[in-house]
Symmetry: C2
Subunit: 460 residues, 2 copies
């Protein structure tokens, strides 16, 4: 007996297949409403639209107002007969669409071409919202109820670092009890193989500023006055060696080793190194890494990236100025169990110890890493259902190299969390001509439905 | 007998005093014509206006076309009876007036307030053009001839680094024979003491660029790819120590020592260190320098200034990008007898030797330093006439800390050159509300007249 038969999913799948056009139309409706958090564009309207869609399925919904940000859409669809509760996280905000001239169609028109919906936000993250709505609707229409209770958090600031999600989680912690969670993204990897991601790196985002003069001065004064630009360069050069190793004392102390199961998953994880090199335009990887070492670095290495650096005159031609100040933006990616609070203090101590106590640090984000144990039941559920729906052995990614607020769910709420969904590579996420493949949208909806059913049927 | 009596300058001075209003009006006419080289604004019109003013005094004039820039105004007023020829250098272009909102009156209106003419270019460099015109006119009106032959070069690109002056000098070298030169700026120092500047530092302006990726990438890739920003920081940190000393091998090899006379002049040169610290907003000078050491650094230290530095995201908030490239702009100020061609090669060698051969260098300017011997007769002329006109012992500045194309005159043409004129401190040169004090304009005109007379009377 197949899993679908066992879980009686045939009618649910049939409903999803029969209503593919409606899923696409719901996605296009979501995409036609701009919702750019970085530009404060359309967020209230978007929150109301999403809420209405949840209301239509019978969710108990709220628009949860936040101190200084757009509301969180929160919805509960409880089944008193269900043993399990699944928490879902999504975001209704999108990246800015610029540069507009590189789009082949209006980023808010949600044009359908070649089996894809083209729009800013189509893939990230509106397709996953549409897909999860459709999966839940399929249960309601075919069975009159969902196999597990659903608690759904849809925030409006993910693309700007979720600055108020902590506030929401603190307030709703009591109501967000559950047995597992589905993260906002996920879907097919290269080669259309389903992927399941179990973790995200954390983030300590710091702006550094050095000032040594009261005003910008004629650069003749470089003969007699210390330059803040040279000072920043010397301070930065104490932070990392030439091969990506962070030199801040104690930075690696709390780094958790991979478990044998995680190492095994990393070994199995496919990685086309030549294609990755071509894609990034690099002749080699840092320290000549390859194979498992390379995969361990992507999934588990703390990084100290210089995302921005600026001082003085940066325009055309030459200007001779001794700038009064110099700036850097750094994103430190963190891994379990690094604590951003502790690292912040280590960074300050390091700069002081090296004679750079005057370097001003401004913390712009601090989120710990998240990693769901590979042995958690929801991981097994995601694997088995992926095999069923896609007829392929899924890739399990111990951790993405990227970051996000998953920590609030895995650690603060204690929910084992898997990132699965209807995304696909080549969707131009965060770039012009973002798009969502309609076939993956429908398949991903079945995957979510299967996860909901199988998770609801878990006995442990 | 006073110098003025000896040189029969009383009537010349009286003419200048009697025509003060005309000098001011001529300056205002020059100021009302915008001439911003950085913006290509009004340069042809300005060149024609200046040429007309020289024509009116009887100069033989030309507008010398240059390959890619505005014309040089060149004029000769030869006196076949004179023994000496004085070359004058000025520029008719000005800095951009922006930011306009900080001006109290229109930068092109040349409004007169509180005894000053307010306009972009009023002090730098149009007052010196008006003043020199008036001094020459005073001789012509009172004597019918000038005491020495005059060859006048007025270019239109000084504020953007005189990119085509070399071309002009090459072509006119044969005609620019003379016995000495007056530079474009000069006048009163703080406390209204006349100052005579004998040199300028040279300039090697270099843009550095490092690229390690084919495209900007998600900063998760910092775990596996070398960052061009870190690479630029490490390359730069090999170039200078923490106290302003350049670490490029051989950089100081050709630095000429000050002569005993120059050291004596430096010792005598006044420098209010506390005021300079307040003005620059610094608690101390580099290496704790003070006294002669500080003055030697300003006049004679090579510098490696970071005028600009940029990479990645420099806007508000946080973005996590691994930039594909990183940039720096550096102005190296040079002193006699450093050769920018040789230093350029040393810089390349240094980077290669330290493993940074991939750092791209683009040279944007390369001008050697200039320094007129303090013992040159024209220096003595400038000193004696300053005493006569201002009734004060002038300050002799061995070198400005700034740069300019004086090298073409001192070294290529072999003309001992002094920077004297009608400038004054607090004139807001290159800044909003640039202004020219009218009293100094008139006094400076007498100084130029006295220099012309005394230089013409030199027997050696």
């Amino acid at each position: 007996m197949s899993q679908a038969q066992e879980l009686d999913l045939e009618r649910v799948y049939a409903h999803i297949d029969a209503h593919g056009d409606e899923i696409v139309e719901r996605l296009r409706t979501l995409c036609r409403q701009p919702s750019v958090s970085a530009q404060g564009l359309g967020l209230e309207e978007m929150a109301r639209l999403v809420r209405r869609m949840l209301d239509e399925l019978g969710f108990q919904t709220e628009l949860v107002p936040l101190e200084d940000g757009p509301p969180v859409v929160y919805g509960e669809l409880l089944n008193p007969n269900a043993k399990k509760t699944l928490v879902i996280y999504n975001h209704y905000d999108v990246q800015p669409p610029e540069p507009l001239e590189l789009w082949e169609s209006d980023p808010w028109a949600a044009e359908v071409r070649d089996g894809k919906v083209y729009a800013r936000g189509a893939a990230d993250n509106k397709a996953n919202i549409a897909s999860r709505l459709a999966a839940i609707e399929a249960f309601l229409k075919t069975r009159g109820e969902v196999p597990c209770s659903i608690k759904w958090v849809i925030e409006g600031e993910e693309e700007i670092g979720s600055p108020h999600l902590r506030e929401f989680i603190e307030r709703y912690k009591g109501r967000l009890k559950g047995d597992g969670a589905i993260w906002e993204f996920g879907g097919l990897d290269y080669g259309d193989v389903p992927g399941i991601t179990l973790g995200l790196k954390g983030m300590l985002y710091v702006e550094l500023r050095v000032q040594t003069l009261g005003r910008d001065a004629h650069s003749a004064n470089a003969a007699i006055v210390e330059s803040p630009v040279w000072r920043l360069i010397r301070a930065l050069s104490t932070l990392q060696d030439g091969e990506g190793r962070i030199l801040v004392e104690g930075w690696y102390d709390d780094v958790r080793d991979f478990t044998p199961e995680e190492l095994e998953a990393l070994e199995r994880e496919p990685l086309d190194e030549e294609q990755l090199k071509r894609d990034l335009g690099v002749p080699r990887f840092l320290r000549g890494m390859t194979g498992l070492e390379l995969k361990k670095a992507l999934a588990g290495a703390p990084t100290a990236n210089l995302a921005g650096l600026w001082a003085g005159y940066t325009g055309r031609g030459h200007k001779t100025v001794l700038p009064k100040e110099a700036h850097a933006k750094m994103d430190f990616r963190l891994v379990p169990d690094q604590d951003p609070q502790k690292l912040k203090a280590l960074l300050r101590q390091h700069l002081e110890r090296h004679g750079f106590g005057d370097v001003e640090l401004t913390i712009q984000a601090e989120t710990p890493a998240a990693r769901t144990p590979i042995t958690a039941p929801i991981v097994q559920v995601a694997r088995e259902t992926a095999r069923e729906v896609f007829q392929k052995e899924p890739n399990v990614h111990v951790s993405s190299g990227g970051s996000g607020p998953m920590y609030h769910f895995t650690t603060v709420l204690g929910l084992p969390t898997v990132a699965i969904g209807c995304n696909h590579p080549y969707s131009n996420t965060h770039a012009p001509n973002e798009n969502q493949r309609i076939d993956v949208l429908v398949q991903g909806t079945k995957w979510i439905a299967a996860v909901i059913a199988r998770f609801g049927a878990l006995t442990a």
